[in-house]
């Protein structure tokens, strides 16, 4: 597609960088599977406070992986380490390796700006740009990255809105401000905005927490559809939601990754007692 050519020009991520070290963590019988994101010994800091501790986790391509755990356990922090958003918080930094498609995004020659173009993010509260129309919101990322071809922009905007299951509702009012939509529609607009960048990985931080049940179920449905083309990592407070949408689940507690496995296994027969107690609602 033409858009890729435009991006390539700006992109230095895949050039001149080869994977020098073979992964050694979590590589067991599953090592033949394709891992899209490998999280290796990642620590996330706020000043001197270590909010996530030595997390190791492999995310499979085109699956939905859920991060669950009680409030404050570090789900958001871990998610934000995956597109280097974490370090934008004043005083925050991360160490360890996050390998996406064989490239350590914390590598020396890596520009975080380029990483964020490739790894989309949807936030807890819908945050469309208030001065932009619906159309411009979706086109924002494309224009930012130098796309000038109006036909292509229009095509991608339409496609992204369709993929975000919003097209039918807004196709006749694309010039209206993005903020004129309902909360759930705004969140889907933000998803469309992220999808327009054609990310291979989409990070979602409690995308339904500010929505009503109907809005939430629309987003959940969307997540299940999107995983055909995108690798999705979703943070959620809602265990039913994790069970409904995800293939794999990671349970975190006080900054530690306690248990990680297929969603079925985590919910049916968790290995750790802590996980079992959390799943069964004994704390959290």
């Amino acid at each position: 597609m033409a858009i890729e050519e435009t991006f390539d020009a700006k992109e230095s991520m895949t050039e001149g960088h080869s994977l020098t070290r073979e992964p050694r963590i979590n590589e067991t019988a599953e090592s033949t599977e394709r891992f899209k994101v490998r999280i290796e010994n990642v620590n996330g800091w706020y000043g001197s406070k270590r909010a996530i501790k030595d997390v190791n986790l492999n995310v499979r391509e085109k699956t939905v992986t859920a991060f669950i755990g009680p409030s404050g356990c570090g789900k958001t922090t871990l998610l934000r380490c995956l597109n280097r958003m974490h370090e934008m918080t004043p005083g925050a930094h991360a160490d360890g390796r996050v390998v996406v498609d064989g490239i350590d995004i914390y590598g020396k020659s890596i520009d975080p700006v380029v990483i964020r173009r490739r790894i989309g993010m949807v936030f807890q509260k819908p945050n469309p740009f208030p001065t932009m129309s619906i159309f411009d919101n979706v086109a924002a990322g494309l224009r930012l990255n130098g796309m000038r071809n109006k036909t292509i922009i229009r095509e991608i905007v339409e496609e992204s809105l369709k993929n975000a299951a919003l097209w039918e509702e807004v196709k006749n009012e694309l010039e209206k401000p993005g903020m004129s939509l309902s909360g759930g529609q705004q969140q889907r607009l933000c998803i469309a905005r992220a999808l327009a960048m054609q990310p291979e990985v989409l990070l979602m931080d409690e995308p339904t927490s500010s929505l009503d049940p109907i809005g939430s179920s629309k987003i959940e449905e969307l997540v299940r559809t999107l995983k055909d083309s995108v690798t999705i990592i979703i943070v959620t407070h809602n265990m039913q939601q994790a069970a409904r949408v995800s293939d794999f689940t990671a349970f975190m507690y006080l900054g530690d990754l306690i248990e990680y496995g297929s969603t079925n296994q985590i919910f049916m027969k968790p290995e750790k007692e802590l996980t079992e107690r959390y799943i069964s609602g004994k704390f959290g």
Binding site: G91, R116, N127, F129, T131, A140, M179
Partner: protein, 330 residues
């Protein structure tokens, strides 16, 4: 049960009393305060208009476009034109220099510097904003004007005076250009403090939205911060412009204080006079009622000028951010 309902009655009557007293006092106060602003505007407008009646009946609307200024009894003739130009030109120079620098400072403090640098820096800017203009004036008169003359005006004059009439005036360091720069120095702390304050209103979620699309810091400022607070930034600039247009003592000290047709600037290195500085210079020695009326009329023009600038700025902002008007309904 009985005691309960009794309690209930007592409490509710308390509420009623409180509401009556508290609310009335509160409403009275705020309506009074709002009324005060209206009253002041009316009073100022009234006094200034009444004071300028004499000169306008003597000179007609020509007062605004003439450039004579003669206070000698029997040969009195007054015109405000040179000082209007002087005011506009010195303020324009101040804005041209001050606004970009102020914005840059605000962006640096609010968007780029880590808190450990940004916090003390914004404190210092606020301190500077509180420095009385006479301090800037003294410094400009005794120190800064020589820098301007030797480092900027002379080189520019030497190079360009033949080709660009804009610079064609032997520089003294006491002129419209110096006044403009010192005005810029005066308004930079004010504008940048307000801009910084305004930019703080932008929620981090907006910045993160831009970052998540692969925006650099500067692109984030352009994409998420500026559009969000455009009207506030224009407001900040207008406040600075208001200060520059009306600034009196500082300008009086450095602008050269020329009177009459010679006060019409032929270049930015011309000595000049602003509306405010002329009023300050002559108010004490107003020789006749007509002279006094002319000075008050300068004030009237200044008032109209600032109001006009404000209205135009407001219209500009409204036009540009039409899309976001629907945004408030969220």
């Amino acid at each position: 049960m009985t005691s309960n309902s009794k309690n209930h009655r007592n409490i509710s009557s308390l509420f009623v009393m409180r509401k009556k007293r508290g609310d009335r006092l509160f409403y009275g106060l705020v309506i009074g305060a709002a009324g005060y602003t209206l009253l002041m505007v009316a009073l100022v407008a009234f006094s200034v208009t009444r004071g300028s009646i004499d000169i306008f009946s003597a000179e007609g609307i020509g007062f605004v476009f003439q450039s004579n200024w003669n206070a000698v009894e029997g040969r009195e003739s007054f015109g405000a034109f040179p000082y209007i130009i002087g005011t506009l030109l010195s303020s324009a120079i101040a804005m041209a220099i001050g606004v970009p620098i102020s914005l840059a400072i605000a962006i640096f403090i609010s968007e780029i510097a880590p808190p450990r640098i940004g916090t003390p820096l914004s404190f210092i800017t606020e301190l500077l904003a509180a420095v009385p203009s006479i301090i800037y004036g003294l410094w400009a008169l005794f120190v800064f004007r020589f820098w301007v003359r030797d480092l900027i005006e002379k080189p520019l004059y030497d190079v360009f005076h033949g080709s660009i009439p804009f610079f064609a005036k032997t520089p003294f360091g006491l002129d419209i250009f110096t006044a403009g720069i010192v005005l810029a120095i005066m308004i930079i702390p004010i504008i940048s403090s307000i801009c910084r304050e305004v930019m703080r209103v932008v929620p981090d979620s907006q910045r993160e939205a831009a970052y998540s699309l692969g925006a650099t810091r500067w692109e984030t400022v352009r994409m998420a911060v500026f559009p969000y607070v455009k009207s506030g930034l224009v407001g900040a600039a207008m406040l600075g412009l208001g200060r520059a247009v009306g600034e009196t003592i500082l300008v009086t000290m450095v602008i050269g204080n020329v009177i009459g047709p010679g006060a019409i600037p032929t270049s930015i290195f011309s000595q000049g006079q602003t509306l405010a500085s002329l009023v300050a210079n002559e108010f004490n020695e107003a020789s006749s009622d007509l002279h006094l009326s002319a000075l008050i009329a300068l004030g009237a023009i200044l008032l109209v000028l600032t109001m006009g600038i404000n209205i135009v700025a407001r219209l500009l902002v409204k036009k540009k951010i039409k899309v976001s008007s629907g945004a408030k309904s969220q």
